[in-house]
């Protein structure tokens, strides 16, 4: 019985993130539009786009290989699994223990790996450029992410996300410098990984500036739909990650009742909305930076993460 219940919870979770992802993207776009005095498309526009993409035919470059066609499914699967392992509204996920935070990062890494390969498959200079910039940014973002993970793990004494979240929810956690550093680093990484301004601009196709869009330039139809969906999923993943670690309020416990779960869901929705709005505000207030300024930006995150870890190492008190 309990198993079935947990399975259900897990399933709901997986579906939930999947359903919410385009919505969040839509929300961000809408807010940005409003902030720039535009009317903007509806929040539901991303859903429409997806369904249209699914109905469109796929235009495949002549020398695209099987890898190019398999990649979207792999990317989507990896991202989805990763997203499913992050507690959204309840901690005690059935399979939460099957992969800890490090593994989640690695899953995202595999997704990126195949995306970059796909970008190089067709053999246009665009794809290559996108891939090379993507991996360059990732080569700094991933270690930064791991450093924040270290900090959290040292604070919570675990790399298990559920455990960390539970710990953060508990009164045991006080304010600490390294937590702040970790949060800061995590946000920077999130921005970089999700190709948001100032690192990358998701809504441009100007080759000089684009990174993510350049890789997926050759994709179309259902493949593109999967790619778009997985990048949306990634955004949700990061938001819920930050939420469950740094704003674990209202997170339902392991064996919580229906009421608590309901609270959890609503809290989660609130967090998502807030995050979306904040992101939109942030993106409208600053400008995209040159590609070769990005390393310094993300490198700062790495340094912050390292500093946080170091502080934890040198003495548990910070």
């Amino acid at each position: 019985m309990a198993l079935i219940r947990d399975l259900a919870a897990q399933f709901v979770e997986m579906v939930l993130v999947l359903v919410l992802a385009p919505g969040l993207v839509g929300l961000v776009r809408k807010t940005k539009a409003r902030l720039t005095r535009r009317h903007g498309a509806s929040v539901l526009q991303p859903y429409r786009d997806l369904s249209r993409l699914l109905r469109k035919e796929v235009v495949l470059a002549e020398n695209a290989s099987w890898l190019f066609r398999v990649a979207p499914y792999l990317i989507f699967a990896a991202t989805w699994v990763a997203a499913a392992l992050v507690p959204t509204f309840a901690t005690g996920l059935l399979f939460g223990w099957s992969a800890d935070l490090i593994a989640i990062i690695a899953l995202l890494g595999s997704a990126r790996f195949f995306l970059a390969l796909a970008g190089m498959d067709v053999g246009t200079s665009f794809g290559g450029m996108g891939s090379s910039r993507e991996v360059m940014i990732a080569s700094l973002a991933e270690p930064a992410m791991l450093m924040t993970v270290f900090t959290l793990a040292l604070i919570a004494g675990s790399t298990q996300l559920s455990t960390i979240a539970a710990f953060m929810n508990s009164p045991a956690v006080g304010l600490s410098v390294s937590l702040g550093l970790a949060l800061f680093a995590l946000i920077i990484v999130a921005i970089a990984e999700n190709a948001r301004i100032p690192v990358d601009n998701p809504s441009t196709h100007l080759e000089l500036t684009m990174v993510h869009e350049a890789m997926v330039l050759e994709y179309s139809g259902r493949h593109l739909a999967l790619i778009e969906l997985s990048s949306a999923l990634k955004l949700v993943l990061y938001v819920s990650l930050i939420a469950c670690i740094f704003a674990p309020w209202g997170l339902a416990g392991a064996q919580a009742g229906a009421a608590v779960l309901l609270i959890g869901v609503s809290a989660y929705l609130a967090k998502l909305t807030a995050a979306g709005v904040l992101l939109a505000v942030f993106e409208t207030t600053i400008a995209k930076m040159r590609v070769f300024r990005v390393p310094q930006f993300v490198g700062a995150a790495l340094m912050l993460g390292l500093l946080g870890t170091l502080l934890r190492f040198v003495s548990g008190s910070f």
Binding site: L54, R55, E57, V58, V59, L60, A61, E62, N63, S65, L67, Y73, L74, A77, A78, V81, F95, S98, A99, I102, A103, A106, L107, S110, R112, F113, A116, L117, M120, G123, T124, S125, F126, S131, S132, R133, V135, M136, A138, S139, L140, A141, E142, P143, L146, M147, G157, S158, E218, G221, R222, L226, F292, P295, L302, L306, T309, L310, F313, V314
Partner: protein, 669 residues
């Protein structure tokens, strides 16, 4: 029993190499020799596995060879057994691969006699149980591999590679010789059990550790002793490169573990400082060097350097924990290191096999001349992709598991007492994380430029799929990579006896875990389940695929790629290896290689092409090796004058010496 079997296999290998001298010129030579090697390695592998899994009594044997009053001691304990598995797995794979690959060899008479001897040497090093036998086999291993490196000796670069390799090998051997000399003491107790029994003071311990780092490190390729490795490994035939990277470097790791963790007794914390610092630098420098390469095999060789760094991080942590009396943590770190040794031997062999197949198919090692091979040789491409994913530490493959374990070990280290370690270990962790990300970048480049995109040269366009033997070998290794990734528990349990022997503790039993996951310390702390992750990804992929299949349109149209309206006929407009690495070069290169780029942009209307020049300097070479080389040259020149003196001057030398000695006598006596 297992020892007898093993030595029999070694003898068989040696005989095979004698046979190889005669059989080399005949057509049947290649299959006979490699077949024999395959058989011998398989038997040895089985024996070693039996010894490792059934923790039977440790077999020892003394043959009346080598040092007359000592004899040649042989012994297979858990550590030896594990490394035997690594060596013979690699050897078997390489032999199987060579059954196909070797037929393309243009100079078989320079490979067949030495290849089996090389295998024999590696096996013997691991089972040798006294200093002399150990070094004898060690240097024999170097010598045979040197001969294999010199197989294609008409190429001047290969000769240079062989030369540098030989000098570095000699350096390493002498370092180990000195280390053993210290351990044995003036009375010359060269048997390992005598050394184990002996008590060694702190100074001795420090010296031995340094010498072991120099000796084993130079063979394993620790920065800055790595210089020979990226030269020598690519120079050899590909199956030998695979062995050198996959197995021989591991033998060096074995030597280090044997000396430092077994013979030297209790380690001191600063020893782990030294190891960790070197290892961290090695890890990042290795992968950065790799990123700058466009020779496929050299890139792989540099990655060997990186992975050796990862292994040594584990070893260093184990030393630190052991010194701090944290047996569980030490066991975890050591297991992580050993598991990575195993994994690396798998995927590095696989990758070198792939590179060899590419070389056979196109005659090219330079990635800038390749591309689009995934169309021409799909199977090899697939296997190579698995290898790339594994070495880039992507779940659910094996590379990730061992790095994950290393991270877990690092996360246990705040408990150590010494501030030095407290400060160092996070840095090393950061370096490890950095190198993991960079490795992924590097293999995106390697795979993308070699196998994806459009062929850059006709040879790449005319490439043909490699032969069955090679493919079999590659797919076996790929399967093992996946297996070790999704069922790591069993492998970790198999490593328990080793950590039992060296640390005196072991990781918790993993095989009993309900979902076959792994739990290094406690479930609440951290856990990972490769199997589930694999299943999830599979399911998710499947669900998506079916869903798409149901909902979406199946319409599909082939059309030229989007070119912004400016059609580019030439595949040379693709991103090349150099251009792919450019952003990373600009980020890290200036620091690590003092990289310089000049662009010559002709003025508008000038038909000349724009030129971009990139200059990289190997700073380590310039700072360490060039000066030494120069010193030798200058000294040689100075002393050379003594060849051209007149007889009278020579006489005055004699006279002077005589007077000096008489004066000494007159004054002091």
């Amino acid at each position: 029993m297992s020892l007898i079997v093993l030595l029999a296999c070694v003898a068989a290998l040696l005989m095979t190499s004698v046979l190889g001298i005669t059989a080399a010129r005949t057509r049947v030579g290649t299959p006979i020799v490699y077949g024999a090697c395959l058989a011998a390695c398989t038997i040895a592998l089985v024996a070693a596995l039996a010894q490792l899994l059934s923790n039977a009594a440790v077999p020892t044997l003394v043959l009346p060879l080598a040092l007359p009053w000592l004899g040649a001691h042989f012994r297979i304990d858990a550590l030896s057994a594990f490394f035997l598995v690594v060596v013979d797995l690699g050897g078997g794979g390489a032999s199987l691969y060579a059954l196909g690959h070797g037929t393309h060899e243009e100079a078989p008479h320079r490979v067949l006699p030495f290849y089996p001897a090389f295998l024999a040497g590696m096996n013997l090093v691991v089972v040798a149980d006294d200093a002399f036998t150990f070094l004898l086999c060690w240097e024999f291993m170097s010598l045979t591999s040197w001969a294999l490196v010199m197989a294609h000796h008409r190429d001047a670069d290969n000769r240079r590679a062989g030369y540098i390799y030989m000098v570095m090998a000699g350096f390493g051997t002498f370092a180990l010789m000195l280390a053993f000399g210290l351990l044995a003491g003036p009375s010359g107790g060269y048997a390992f059990e005598v050394m184990r029994a002996g008590q060694h003071g702190p100074l001795i311990a420090a010296l031995v550790l340094t010498l072991a780092l120099l000796g084993a490190g130079s063979k394993a390729g620790l920065v800055p002793l790595h210089v020979w490795l990226p030269l020598a490994h690519p120079a050899a035939p590909s199956h030998v490169s695979a062995l050198m990277s996959g197995a021989m470097t591991k033998v060096a790791v074995y030597a280090f573990l044997r000396i430092v963790l077994d013979l030297l007794g209790a380690p001191s914390w600063w020893s782990s400082m030294a190891v960790l610092a070197l290892a961290g630098i090695t890890t990042v420098m290795g992968v950065l060097y790799a990123l700058m390469q466009h020779d496929l095999k050299r890139l792989l060789a540099y990655h060997t350097v990186e992975n050796i760094g990862i292994v040594f991080i584990g070893v260093g942590l184990a030393l630190g924990f052991k010194a701090n009396a944290m047996p569980l943590a030490a066991a975890l770190a050591l297991t992580a290191a050993l598991f990575h040794v195993f994994n690396h031997s798998l995927f590095k062999s696989l990758l070198f096999f792939g590179a060899g197949s590419v070389q056979n198919a196109t005659g090219e090692r330079d990635m800038e001349h390749l591309g689009g091979l995934i169309h021409r040789m799909p199977y090899a491409a697939f296997a190579f992709l698995v290898g790339c994913a594994a070495i880039s530490a992507l779940p659910p493959l094996n590379g990730f598991v061992s790095e994950w374990l290393t991270f877990q070990a690092i996360l246990l280290s705040p408990a150590v007492a010494q501030w030095g370690l407290k400060m160092l270990i996070p840095g090393v962790g950061a370096l490890l994380a950095l190198s993991a990300a960079l490795a992924a970048a590097c293999f995106v480049k390697a795979y993308g430029v070699t196998f994806l995109g459009r062929p850059r040269t006709p040879v790449a366009a005319q490439a043909i799929e490699t032969d069955r033997f090679s493919l079999t070998a590659m797919f076996i290794l790929a399967a093992l990579c996946l297996l070790a990734g999704i069922l790591p528990g069993f492998f970790i349990d198999a490593l328990a006896p080793v950590s039992e022997a060296l640390i005196g503790a072991r990781m918790p039993v993993q095989a009993t875990d309900p979902w076959l996951g792994i739990v290094p310390i406690a479930a609440s702390r951290s856990s990972y389940d490769g199997l589930l992750v694999f299943v999830f990804i599979g399911l998710a992929g499947l669900i998506t695929a079916t869903a798409i299949h149901r909902l979406a349109s199946h319409a599909l149209r082939r059309s030229p790629a989007w070119d912004c309206g400016t059609p580019d006929p030439s595949p040379l407009t693709q991103y090349s290896a150099a251009s792919f690495a450019q952003p990373i070069r600009r980020v890290y290169g200036t620091l690590a290689f003092d990289a310089r780029e000049q662009v010559e942009m002709p003025p508008p209307g000038d038909p000349r092409p724009a030129v971009l020049r990139v200059s990289l300097r190997d700073l380590l070479w310039d700072w360490l090796y060039a000066p030494a080389e120069g010193a030798v040259r200058v000294t040689a020149d100075r002393l050379n004058q003594f060849q051209f003196l007149t007889i009278r001057k020579y006489l005055s030398l004699v006279f002077g010496l005589l007077i000096v000695l008489l004066l000494v006598l007159a004054i002091w006596l």
